[in-house]
């Protein structure tokens, strides 16, 4: 449901990324999201980076709406609604590898906490890595990958995932990150015979499964997702290829 909550904690995760904590009693599960709004911005979907009674969103400054959120201080109100969507199914496998790319890492952190599974966090450079400290506390093993090699494995998330998958027998990969990363991750899972659950993103309006603006083929990212199974993804023609804009026009992914 919708609610107004006050910011009770602000953490700096990286040069352009902050986490905002608030108390909200709604029950939420790892991988679910909320719609977030304050006056002066467009309402946007945000994954929950904490799903306990104290919940949080982790915001990377990428445009005017996220800039507006970055201006918030302790005690400021925000309007939220949700939690929405289907999160990760953490009971489907006992032998999982969790992969977070860029700010998408925030969405897998609740699953890392709940499962303690092996985790990969990847980003462009060392200064873009977020939440490695909290992940390190809960994950059995935590590996870092950076595109420029400034920290950890020199390469991307998928390359490191392939390496770790050859050393360990994982049944299932859970991930959130840029679609291009997830597209290659999905293909690697198909090739290596691993199951996966991926948290995807599309332009969202209602968030509640009504308007159909965020569909990938016939699946609503807001309600049938945002976490989709390997089987669901295998049938989606849009994945990694195209998305719909605010008008519902097809736009090729760059």
């Amino acid at each position: 449901m919708s609610d107004s909550v006050r910011i009770v904690g602000i953490l700096d995760n990286a040069h352009d990324t902050k986490t905002f904590e608030f108390q909200w009693d709604e029950k939420a599960s790892p991988g679910q999201f909320i719609m977030v709004w304050v006056p002066g911005m467009e309402e946007i979907p945000m994954s929950l980076s904490k799903t306990d009674r104290i919940k949080s969103i982790t915001v990377k400054k990428i445009g005017k709406d996220t800039q507006k959120l970055h201006e918030l201080s302790l005690g400021d109100p925000i309007r939220i609604r949700g939690p929405y969507g289907k999160g990760f199914d953490l009971r489907k496998s006992k032998n999982m590898l969790l992969v977070g790319g860029g700010v998408g890492t925030a969405a897998i952190i609740p699953a890392v906490k709940e499962t303690g599974a092996d985790t990969i966090i990847a980003a462009r450079t060392d200064r873009d890595i977020i939440m490695d400290e909290v992940a390190g506390r809960y994950a059995k093993n935590l590996w870092i990958a950076t595109d420029d090699g400034s920290r950890g494995f020199h390469g991307n998330a998928v390359q490191l995932m392939r390496e770790k998958a050859s050393e360990n027998k994982y049944e299932m990969v859970l991930a959130c990150g840029p679609e291009i990363m997830q597209y290659h991750l999905y293909n690697a899972c198909v090739e290596l015979g691993m199951d996966c659950q991926l948290s995807l993103e599309r332009h969202m309006k209602c968030g509640a499964g009504v308007c159909g603006c965020c569909v990938m083929d016939d699946l609503r990212v807001c309600k049938d997702g945002p976490v989709l199974t390997k089987e669901q993804i295998s049938k989606i023609k849009d994945f990694g290829v195209s998305k719909r804009d605010e008008c519902g026009r097809i736009v090729k992914l760059g």
Partner: protein
């Protein structure tokens, strides 16, 4: 048992997906056709691509939803691709919006060419300046649009009416007098929601349309009143989420109904659930067909 007809159009199931709900793309409309709906009404399509209003455009509230999407749609040209996918799978009703009889007619012609089983004229959206309810509350304007579209296409022409008026009966009579094939009632009720903590309206458009259980009794009343003044078919819509809601609309005089908000609150399964429970009710209470229920509250 659940077969009904809207004029000459036969529907295997009496429930349709209301305009604006899971109906912007071909694949989502196909999914809804397979969910137990007798037809799917498309998102309202205009002449040009329209992004709609900026977020926030939607929120839950006690008793329903409020929305001011602002008629987002890809425009009639691009929508042909979506219709190509959807129309071969079942009854697709093309909802269209325009600002003049000529614009409505041109859009209707395209919809007919795309394979729409009927067109639904959106003369009732409360959220778009110069469109919808702003032109749909004047019976003479409604009449001129309906008669222009009627002479432009051969598929049935339905008109969706607004409840934001004291003269919905006059609007329905104008539709009938202009040769319209059916009346759809009701669209959302113009409403507003304010955030106490911010002291500001929540929707970017300030006002929006209220839908869901909160408006069902308004819709049932409107259908009942319309039935007393016209003979053309009525399609009931507004706050239906279970078989009892649907039965009320039928008994008020609708021969079919549409469901929107409940797709969010009850899920896509809402059509299957209502179909089976309505059928059980009909058996228990001796209604052998939908048509036997239509308008019984007037007798």
């Amino acid at each position: 048992m659940l077969v009904t007809s809207v004029g000459k159009m036969r529907l295997e199931k009496p429930g349709m997906v209301a305009s604006g709900v899971m109906d912007e793309t071909g694949p989502s409309m196909v999914r809804m056709l397979r969910s137990g709906a007798g037809a799917v009404v498309t998102k309202s399509i205009g002449s040009e691509p329209n992004p709609g209003h900026p977020n926030p455009v939607f929120t839950e509230l006690k008793g329903g939803y409020i929305n001011a999407m602002g008629l987002p749609n890809p425009g009639i040209e691009l929508f042909g691709k979506e219709m190509e996918i959807a129309a071969k799978n079942g009854n697709i009703i093309g909802s269209i919006y325009g600002s003049s009889p000529e614009e409505f007619s041109a859009l209707a012609v395209k919809m007919e060419r795309y394979g729409a089983a009927a067109v639904e004229l959106n003369l009732s959206c409360p959220n778009a300046a110069g469109y919808g309810m702003e032109i749909g509350t004047d019976p003479s304007v409604v009449g001129s649009i309906v008669s222009a579209v009627k002479s432009a296409v051969s598929i049935p022409v339905w008109t969706k009416l607004t409840p934001n008026t004291h003269m919905i009966k006059d609007l329905a009579m104008a539709v009938q007098d202009a040769g319209g094939d059916a009346v759809v009632a009701i669209n959302t009720v113009k409403a507003m929601v304010i955030s106490p903590m911010f002291g500001k309206p929540i929707l970017s458009n300030k006002f929006g349309g209220l839908s869901g259980p909160a408006i069902r009794s308004i819709g049932v009343r409107a259908v009942f009143e319309i039935r007393t003044v016209v003979d053309i078919p009525i399609i009931g819509v507004g706050g239906i989420s279970d078989w009892k809601d649907a039965a009320q609309y039928l008994m008020a005089g609708a021969c079919a109904f549409q469901i929107g908000s409940a797709v969010g609150t009850k899920g896509i399964e809402v059509f299957d659930t209502i179909n089976s429970e309505l059928e059980r009710f009909m058996k228990d209470y001796g209604y052998s067909s939908i048509s036997k229920m239509v308008g019984v509250a007037h007798e």
